[in-house]
Amino acid sequence: MKLPIWFHRFGSPPYVYGLANTLAPWLAGIALILLAVGGFWGLVIAPTERTQGEVYRILYIHPQTAYISMMAYTVMAVAAGIGFIWRIKLAHAVAVSAAPIGASFTFCALATGAIWGRPTWGTYWEWGDPRLMFELLLLFLYLGYLALRAAFDDRDKADRVSAVLAVVGIVNVPIIHYSVLWWNTLHQGPTISRLGSPAMDTSMLIPFLIMVAGFTALFFWILLRRLQAEIVEREHGTRWLQSLVREGAA
């Protein structure tokens, strides 16, 4: 399959480095403002929930971190697949950059979920619960991906082998999403993506969505900064990088 011409610019490390350097501060600003506004709204302004009481306020961080954990994996797998098929090194650099972010958010989703589970379900953790098990598997996929890469001294080989793991593991993402519909689980079903009207009051839905947007902006901000770091590491000794660091030092 042939790629459009404009796409090839995204295979140029200096172009992508510069683009990331321009976009990152904007994303940082947007992320910090949205997270501050959404966090304050969720903790202070949003009304108390009828059945759960105040503890429901974990709603403004837990689903968002879980969504980032799955979106980061999708970004990683798609980038790794593009890198594998078209042999684009920068795509592999994107995949490597997404992995630690995704792993940290998976940990965060599991931890905040466990904390929320104690007062609402009476338990921190339920072995065998599908939603929980597949989210835990997601953490192991991230850690496996990083461990597999670390096992190779040759970066090209690490890129190609780890890409296979990343692409195969993508099946877990829709399984996590639909697990609450396919199996009996303690975890509640979808609230926002339900067709028709979402089952959440507007007073809670607005801060919920602000936090979704805030975490999304934060993810791409961190992704771009990590991608820059990865590009610098991979472009050792190239002329454009030498002139870049000389300008930076001057």
Binding site: L35, G39, L43, V44, T48, G53, E54, V55, R57, I58, I61, H62, T65, V96, P100, I101, S104, F105, F107, C108, A111, T112, I115, W116, R118, P119, L146, R149, A150, L218, I222, R225, R226, Q228, A229, V232, E233, E235, H236, G237, L241, Q242, L244, V245, R246, G248, A249
Partner: protein
């Protein structure tokens, strides 16, 4: 004010969840920044004559 922090008696759950999340956010920002800084420093050193011995291995994380 103390009513706000007690979160209807569930303050420990709410605040520990928010604390962990804030910690993860700060780690992400810090780790990405320090990695970029270190790699730029290594690249700047690369322009100079190669020092004796092996260059330190840059970790994945």
């Amino acid at each position: 004010m103390s009513e706000f922090f007690s979160m209807g008696g569930n303050g420990a759950y709410v605040w520990s969840a928010y604390g962990i999340t804030l910690g993860v956010l700060i780690w992400n920002v810090w780790a990405a920044r320090s990695r970029l800084k270190r790699n730029l420093r290594l690249a700047a050193r690369d322009g100079e004559p190669e020092p004796e011995g092996r260059r330190p291995r840059v970790s994945q994380l």
